[in-house]
Amino acid sequence: MMDWSAFFLSLRLATLVMIILLFSGLLIARFLAWRQFRGKELVEALLALPLVLPPTVLGFYLLIFFGSNSWFGHLYQEITGHSLIFTFSGLLLASLIYSLPFAVQPMLRAFESIPKNLREAAWCSGLNRWQTFLKIELPLAWPGILSGMVLAFAHTLGEFGVVLMVGGNIPGETQTLSIAIFDRVQTFDDQSAHIMSMVLLIFAFVTISLVFLLNRRSA
């Protein structure tokens, strides 16, 4: 049977990650595309790290970092009154970090491909920075931004290792669709695993086709 609770949890998580990464991704990508500063390569490498790091490694460190023994986990618990581990908030925060490069990389490439003198031409035409962003940068970088959003969404929907490490497997709180599939296979419920896997497969195919289509159109 389809686990709707896990399905909607995954959807909620992926949507939130996508929206938050849209704004933070835009800020980070624009900053990296046009600013030169010392250690820029290091920052870029750090941002891209989740692309190559085993999810269990990232999950393990996040687990320690979120735990009440770390200053961050402790501070969070002091302020909010609950822990980050095995909660939806912790899952969200972990997913944001894990999916960040998937959102930022396409956006960064898109902003980098806008020639500097187009922005200067906009300024000389009387457009302030905000108008330049809305009227020039955004329309030109749009395919890249959309790619970043779609990738962040799809990637969050399918993540497993980080979720399991940080969120565990609590139905209704942290059990996402991919965890639910794993759970069903463990209990020899192949029928349910089939249905849920098919949903994710179709979804992944549709999103990745969309990304390719967008890139084709912008090229």
């Binding site: 003198n117 200067e120 031409a121 300024w123 000389c124 009387g126 009227k135 329309p139």
Partner: protein
């Protein structure tokens, strides 16, 4: 004070050290080799680059002044800048590209601007579907849409072919007469500068070397470096033998002969100097019935090359007094034909005294 006046000094990064003024309706061309800082000067005027020191005044408006700590943003300056590659917004059509630069007070329309730059009927096209010349016109229209206080043109013809370039230059010349604002033109094309500009500012490594009319800069370059940058063909080294201010007389030794030049300014006797003479001020002696002028600084030699371009024949002569020296002489081509000039022929010429220009000596200037 009307027009644009500026003084820029930059020590760090891109070196700059120059000053000039440009009156409304006049064209000042910044001329120099690539990398000399010409474009940076335009960027300073547009507000896209700040120097360590200096000022930029446009009419009575201070755009930039390091003493007063004033910096007006590019948005507020109303400087119309035409970028070298035009920098049109690729996602906007021609009309939108121009409209984006309109202010609330703009009195002109897209149609008016497009007819001003001779481009109509392409309002709905995207820049990528336009030719280089059409893109240049759109960029010009966009720059004019803000009713700019100064027009800045960065190598405006570098991205178009030769035929289009000639046409666009003539159009620009016509447009310039209608505009009552200072126009600063960056170019490395000396003919372009001479054709369009009222004044030329020669730049080298960010330093303004000489400002003057194209005629002045070409005929009386302030140094051998300026002469070289302006591609003065007859640039030579000589030695001062004697000078006399009353008689406006200088006697110069050069490659085994002596010739007379104007006094101009005192040089130490025996000093090395550079001198130049415009190629059209070298006078050919007629073979039959030589005229009286033949006694003025006569030189003779053998023609090694003859090149005719649009009615002017450039004759290159190897001199008898020093065969490795090449003297350039420009003649109307009918004169070259009537005197049946040909490679290998021997001819004699006069160096017109008043056309000779003396400069301080600089190394590696002999040709």
């Amino acid at each position: 004070m009307k027009g644009l006046s500026l003084q820029l000094k930059n020590m760090s990064g891109i070196p700059l050290d120059l000053e000039f003024t440009c009156a409304p309706g006049k064209v000042l061309a910044l001329v120099g080799p690539s990398g000399s800082g010409k474009t940076t000067v335009l960027r300073c005027i547009a507000g896209l680059f700040r120097t360590d020191e200096g000022f930029i005044y446009c009419d009575d408006w201070t755009w930039f002044d390091t003493d007063q700590k004033v910096f007006v943003s590019p948005q507020q300056r109303h400087a119309g800048l035409v970028f070298q590659n035009y920098a049109l917004f690729p996602h906007l059509n021609v009309r939108q590209n121009i409209e984006i630069a309109f202010t609330a007070q703009s009195k002109t329309s897209v149609t008016e601007l497009l007819s001003l730059v001779n481009l109509r009927g392409l309002e709905e096209r995207l820049p990528s579907t336009l030719s280089g010349g059409q893109q240049q016109r759109v960029a010009l229209a966009r720059a004019l849409a803000r009713e700019p206080r100064v027009l800045l043109l960065d190598e405006p013809f570098s991205a178009v072919d030769q035929v289009t370039r000639r046409k666009l230059r003539l159009e620009l010349l016509e447009l310039i007469r209608k505009l009552e604002i200072p126009i600063i033109l960056v170019t490395h094309d000396l003919d372009e500068a001479a054709m369009l500009a009222d004044q030329i500012c020669v730049i080298h490594n960010g330093t303004g070397l000489q400002i003057g009319t194209p005629e002045d800069v070409l005929r009386t370059p302030s140094s051998a470096l300026v002469a070289r940058l302006m591609d003065v063909r007859n640039l030579f080294e000589g030695v001062v033998i004697e000078q006399n201010e009353q008689n406006d007389h200088s006697l110069i030794a050069w490659g085994g002969i002596e010739f007379e030049a104007p006094f101009q300014r005192p040089f130490p006797r025996g000093a090395k100097l550079n001198w130049s003479i415009p190629a059209d001020r070298v006078l050919l002696h007629r073979r039959v019935n030589p005229s009286r002028g033949v006694r003025e600084n006569p030189v003779s030699g053998q023609i090694v090359e003859l090149v005719t371009i649009s009615g002017i024949t450039n004759v290159i002569v190897s001199l008898d007094s020093s065969p490795e020296t090449r003297l350039h002489m420009d003649l109307p081509s009918h004169v070259a034909e009537r005197n049946s000039l040909a490679v290998g022929e021997r001819i004699s010429m006069s160096l017109l005294k008043n056309a000779i220009h003396l400069m301080d000596h600089s190394h590696s200037s002999s040709r």
